[in-house]
Amino acid sequence: MALFLRELSRNFKSFIIWTLILIISNIGLMMMYPMIAEQAGEYNELMKKLPKEMLKGLSMDKLNFAQILDFFAYVFLYIILFGCVYAILLATSIISKEESEKTVEFLMAKPVTRNTIVTAKTLCVFFYITVFNVVFTVADYLAFEALKKSGYDINIFLLMHLGFFLIMITFAAIGLLVSVFIVKAKSIYPVAFGIVLGAFFINITAAISDKLENLKYLTPFKYINPSDIVSSGRIEGVYIIIMAAVTLVSVALTYVFYNRKDICV
């Protein structure tokens, strides 16, 4: 418990910063909606002239910018990208930081098992991601209510945010696992960014090319793609199963490997 509370206070600052930045960016982008909605006809015409591949890659091909949900789906993809960066940075640093800053020597000399350490840290990550998503969803709801020009489907709205939560959890779980192996601050950030950005670009590639379509199974960004949710009204079951499996396996392996690891500082 002491460890969990300590982790909460240690990661509080970064939580506040990321939450504020993402909420402000999101609201800032949403403020453009009224203007774009007024000229939606022209925008849609313009869109039709752009190369189809590009629109597909950025998931803009099915969107009608007159609808607030459609516009949001376009903006939201980028918010999700940064949200995932936050999730993976939070998760990768929470375990590896003890080792890179050599404080693990203090911690491990205390009467705690390695399982307790992993549990406290995993719970802290889960806690902050959950709180982040609740706060973000509420703020976004208020923005929607303020800016909407017509009604929207609240279920789809919630589904998109659920997707955001799931993808953050997935990346966080992967981050926990990675940080058992890579502890140097110098190498962990490139790896963390690499995983998220790599997945993002696989998503674009899979959308553009028919041949590479099966790549979509490799990237969580496809699983919860906001424009797909807007057009289909659901997250496919197989994707949820994959995300749940990846999360559970990653966390389980984190426990297994952390218990066997030599802590050298």
Partner: protein
């Protein structure tokens, strides 16, 4: 025994003999109460007194047998590079045990294995009779660890860190923190990252002592402390030792080990060279002899080691009998003769060199 009870009567018979019969309920009741009390007293006696005595005997016998630390054939390789090879030693409860060796000899590796930071490639290690890896959490309740390099959370003040440390032991350590910080003259309100190396070391010392551990694992503990603080630290260690605390003291500075420890183990390149009483290692066995000859003489006897000849003087460590030495010196002309107790340092160098030759 047969007990029969009806609505207004009670009778007890054993075989054919009737013990209580008829309406004498009062006596019957007393009899039952007596039986009940008897049973309870017996039960209590068995449960509490005998169990307690048995466990007390176990404990006493155990206390004699259980070493604070028991290491058997402990081996650790980092990939292919050596950590320690076949280290075995026992540290008795209540002693101050020195662990000497040059940098990279495997001192820290041994301590980190005891704390299960790292897992051995072979062998076993026990603390207070419990396995260092399986029962690590339990063992650590009773261990204070002082690392060679002190690294703490940079967002904490000294008192935050000490309080955080205390929380793990579920104990109120505030009094002890106050005491120790007074002894070491440490300001609890400073941020840890603003402290000098020596002051960080003080934080680490307090941190290792605040929960009143039974075993202290000290890895190069005096680095960074000024002589005054070192003395205070040694005083605190002696006091702790008087209360029965076992101290495992790793160092490459021999004089401090000599000052403090009862027994020492010498480690080199991952292997234990010797384990023994400090006095025995240093004094009893060797004499430091220096002879100044009148002429260019040479001189040889069994038991001479580390011989250094310079002009007419000769210096060596001698493990034979002094009497034999004196008698064999009678044949040569001696200008001057010194016989001294060698410092541990010199003995230590001898062990190292002889190991090299082998």
């Amino acid at each position: 025994m047969d007990v029969r009870k009806t609505a207004d009567d009670i009778s007890i018979t054993a075989g054919d003999t009737s013990i209580i019969q008829g309406g004498n309920r009062f006596i019957a009741c007393l009899f039952f109460i007596e039986l009940y009390i008897d049973y309870m007293v017996n039960w209590l006696y068995n449960k509490l007194i005998i169990d307690h005595m048995v466990s007390e005997i176990d404990r006493r016998e155990g206390a004699g047998n259980v070493n604070a630390i028991e290491i058997r054939n402990l081996t650790k390789y980092y990939g292919k590079s050596r950590g320690i090879i076949g280290v075995s030693m026992d540290v008795r409860e209540g002693e101050i045990f020195g662990f000497i060796g040059p940098n990279g000899a495997g001192k820290s590796t041994t301590i980190r294995t005891l704390l299960s930071f790292i897992f051995p490639s072979g062998g076993s290690a026990k603390i207070f009779g419990m396995d260092c890896f399986r029962d690590s959490e339990k063992i650590k309740m009773d261990i204070g660890y002082l690392p060679a390099e002190v690294n703490y959370y940079d967002d904490m003040k000294v008192k935050d860190l000490l309080r955080y440390s205390a929380k793990f032991y579920r104990k109120d350590c505030s009094k002890r923190i106050k005491e120790l910080s007074d002894i070491f003259e440490l300001d609890l309100n400073k941020r840890i990252d603003s402290l000098s190396f020596g002051n960080k070391k003080k934080v680490a010392i307090i941190q290792s002592l605040l929960h009143e551990p039974r075993l202290l694992l000290l890895d190069e503990p005096t680095g960074g402390l000024d002589p005054l603080m070192q003395n205070k630290f040694f005083e605190v260690l002696r006091e702790e030792n008087k209360r029965g605390v076992t101290i495992f003291f790793s160092s490459h500075v021999l004089s401090e080990v000599q000052k403090l420890c009862d027994r020492v183990a010498i480690i080199k390149e991952g292997k234990i060279l010797r384990i023994g009483e400090v006095d025995e290692l240093a004094g009893d066995k060797f004499k430091k002899i220096k002879i100044e000859f009148a002429n260019d003489e040479t001189f040889e006897l069994p038991g001479m080691v580390n011989v250094q000849t310079k002009d007419k003087t000769m210096e060596f460590l001698f493990s034979g009998k002094v009497d034999i030495l004196i008698k064999s010196l009678a044949g040569v002309k001696v200008e001057n003769l010194w016989i001294e107790e060698p410092s541990l340092e010199e003995v230590f160098m001898h062990y190292y060199r002889s190991e090299d030759r082998n």
